[in-house]
């Protein structure tokens, strides 16, 4: 394949990884990363080659499975949204201490502005924390090229490489020219237990060796073409533009007319030698980076008098929160352009809502009716479409924090005396991070009432298979929930009275109950 093709940023990552000779992709769906795995799943060439492309239970299992494939000498890609890297963090950080055998690239898709997320954490901190290289593309083409180079780099330096993308790149299409594909690695399992058995004695040696190599790794990374210095004629200000910030900068100076020296960055750790080139060419700095002031904080430091005036997100030149936009970058450069007409006052918000016919709306209907008898009771919910149950007309849930927190927060609240403590979780989220929390509740016979909204799919990310499909009752029974208190109901208006009765019965019982509200996602039914 060498012709121009239209790729989402996510798809460019996926095609780049396939062309780099991966033998497996491991992932749990999460906006804005989902389409990477979906692209590989739909690619006939991946099927013909037998590339692994099944969803994992969560990001931690995905990361570890990919590390296992790397151990065996083959190349593996792991994909997740930014908060997924929290789930995978234990394996991710330790994979820097083991290092890799086959190339291993970890993709974290960050979501500054929280378009579809609970926070806007910046994954570049994880790269620094773990002491692994991070690359950050500015375009779909660069994403494709970087993934290919990252696999070679990973094998050269024997470390995982983190690829950080943000929503606007992940979910934007552009023309990409692919390069010839490379063959997969042969099976070649590691035979070095000292690398892989992280006993303290081994880990100390590996960690010291990793730190000793950082200057070399930094220099090698700095040589990639995505880091480059572009001289300017006006030394009043130098501009450091990382990742997609470079696009917004160029948007303000069409045709390469920027008079200021520019350091375009796409690779971390930052190279002091590279920064020195920029420092020598200007009298002040503007830092443009999407997400947190990651570079800016390193350059400004804590001393009150930095080497030169530095502007960015910390001094208010750019907003401290939210994604970069063409508008806020233009304003930071003093090149704001006039906007179109103002939005008329009659335009009201149109927030997302549960679909017409959604099974969750029938579940919330019977839950609300039962809870109206218990003003001191609380409903702890979780991550998924059903979080929309917080909004009118339902207003049926009291919390949503992180994957799996419904069950564990309900247990903690019940420990404190909240009655009834209800947990509401989807089938896929339950498989991701709910099972261990339920085990905590079972171990103490906590009076937690767990409602599993089983729509037989991962709904919010567009309908991926749920690993709990067909297994919910056996999982609950298997970890010790009394089978008499595993109830299955059908969330339909015609069963409303019966569902109200069943939930009341379970609330009256002082142990762990699991009520499975099972009806297929209406979107999946439409798709057939």
């Amino acid at each position: 394949m060498d012709t121009k093709t239209l790729f989402l940023g996510d798809e460019a990552v996926a095609q780049g990884a396939m062309d780099a000779g991966i033998s497996g992709v491991y992932a749990y769906p999460g906006t804005p990363s989902t389409e990477i795995m979906e692209y590989v799943q739909a690619a006939p060439e991946a099927g013909a080659r037998g590339v692994h492309r099944q969803w994992s239970a969560n990001e931690k299992t995905a990361m570890e499975e990919a590390l296992g494939m790397s151990y065996a000498g083959k190349r593996a890609l792991v994909c997740m949204k930014h908060v997924g890297l929290n789930v995978a963090a234990d394996a991710f950080i330790n994979s820097a201490i083991t290092g890799v055998n086959g190339g291993l690239v970890v993709v974290a898709a960050d979501d500054p502005s929280m378009h579809s997320s609970q926070n806007e954490q910046d994954s570049r901190f994880y790269g620094k924390f773990a002491a692994v290289p991070v690359c950050e593309p500015c375009s779909q083409q660069e994403a494709y090229d970087m993934v290919r180079a990252a696999f070679d780099f990973s094998e050269k330096i024997r470390l995982p490489v983190l690829l950080r993308i943000t929503t606007r790149l992940a979910h934007s299409r552009a023309d990409v020219v692919p390069a010839p594909a490379r063959a997969e690695n042969p099976l070649n399992p590691s035979s070095d237990p000292r690398q892989w058995v992280l006993l303290p004695a081994h880990a100390r040696r590996n960690w010291a060796a990793l730190l000793a190599r950082m200057p070399e790794i930094t220099a090698l990374g700095d040589a990639f073409p995505w880091n480059r210095f572009i001289p300017g004629t006006n030394r009043q200000m130098g501009i450091l533009a990382a990742g997609i910030a470079f696009n917004y900068l160029n948007e303000c100076f069409p045709g390469g007319t920027c008079p200021f020296p520019i350091l375009k960055l796409g690779q971390y750790p930052l190279s002091s030698a590279r920064l020195a080139t920029l420092q020598a060419a200007c009298d002040s700095l503007l830092i443009l980076e999407d997400g947190a002031p990651f570079i800016e904080e390193q350059l400004v430091g804590l001393f009150p008098n930095p080497v030169m005036p530095i502007r960015g997100r910390l001094d208010g030149t750019l907003p401290r929160t939210g994604e970069l936009t063409p508008e806020n970058v233009a304003a930071a450069l003093g090149r704001a352009r006039p906007e179109g007409p103002a939005v008329p006052p009659l335009v009201t918000p149109r927030p997302p809502a549960l679909c017409r016919g959604c099974p969750h709306s029938d579940t919330y209907a019977f839950l609300k009716e039962v809870m109206s008898d218990f003003p001191a009771g609380r409903v702890f919910s979780d991550i998924g479409c059903y979080t929309l149950g917080a909004l009118p007309p339902y207003e049926a849930i009291h919390s949503c924090v992180d994957m799996g927190a419904s069950i564990t927060m309900a247990k903690g609240a019940s420990d404190a005396g909240v009655r009834p403590a209800i947990a509401v979780i989807g089938d896929s989220t339950f498989a991701h991070s709910g099972i261990t929390g339920l085990l905590d509740a079972v171990a103490e016979s906590s009076p937690v009432k767990l409602l599993i909204l089983d729509n037989e799919i991962t709904g919010m990310t567009g309908g991926q298979e749920s690993l709990a499909f067909g297994r919910l009752e056996s999982i609950a029974a298997g970890i010790g929930v009394d089978p008499a208190h595993i109830r299955v109901v059908t969330p339909l208006a015609k069963h409303h009275a019966e569902n109200v009765r069943i939930l009341r019965e379970e609330i009256a019982w002082p142990g762990v109950s699991v009520i499975i509200a099972r009806r297929a996602c209406i979107q999946m039914r439409r798709k057939g």
Binding site: H115, R173, A174, E251, G340, T348, P352, L354, C355
Partner: protein
């Protein structure tokens, strides 16, 4: 050549397939393209938009800057107004469906919405649902919208039609023909408005 547009509507109204068709046509013409989409939770009946940028030079930003859009194409009248700050007031067109999608309470007064749209210097408001229905293709509303907007978009009509053919070919000749008929009716509706 450089053409920026916003495609607006409500999740599920076929915004991404309009964007995808335009993208396919632009790529076939060997033009550069960037098309930013909304995925995830907002697709559940919320306000959604796509940014589409076409040029014969490399394009930098994935997002259309506010004040730069030559076109706001909207599947729904209220949504056409939501993105007005993106419109290039001097040259931009708003082409919008007049048929409201009632999934919010209360939905603003429809006459007041239409008045706001008509107040714009260059706007075309028509009932694309009715046009598609009358041609026996009630699911092709977005083709009526694309047709009406295409009059102002600097891509040859033939390039758009061949993109429609390839997009729908696997659904059979009848679907291709009905989508083309609705596209042409939409294009005809605005033909008289084009200055060139």
């Amino acid at each position: 050549m450089k053409y920026d547009m916003i495609i607006a509507g409500v999740g599920g109204q076929g915004i991404l397939s309009i964007a995808s068709l335009l993208g396919r046509a632009a790529l076939n013409l060997n033009l550069h393209l960037k098309q930013s989409e909304v995925h995830g939770m907002a697709q559940r009946g919320g306000a959604v938009l796509a940014h589409l940028r076409i040029a014969d030079q490399p394009i930098h930003s994935d997002l259309v800057p506010r004040g730069a859009a030559a076109m706001i194409l909207s599947m729904e009248p209220l949504e056409a107004l939501r993105y007005l700050p993106w419109l290039d007031t001097a040259t931009g067109w708003v082409v919008t469906n007049a048929e409201p999608l009632h999934n919010i309470e209360p939905y603003p007064n429809l006459d007041a919405i239409a008045a706001e749209i008509r107040r714009l210097p260059q706007a075309f408001l028509f009932n694309a649902d009715k046009m598609a229905r009358d041609l026996g293709a009630p699911r092709a509303v977005n083709m009526a919208m694309l047709g009406a907007a295409s009059t102002f978009i600097p891509l040859p009509s033939a390039a758009l039609e061949s993109a429609i053919v390839s997009q729908f070919s696997r659904k059979g000749e009848t679907v291709v023909a009905s989508n083309l008929a609705v596209f042409r009716a939409g294009r005809q509706a605005t033909a008289a408005l084009h200055p060139g």
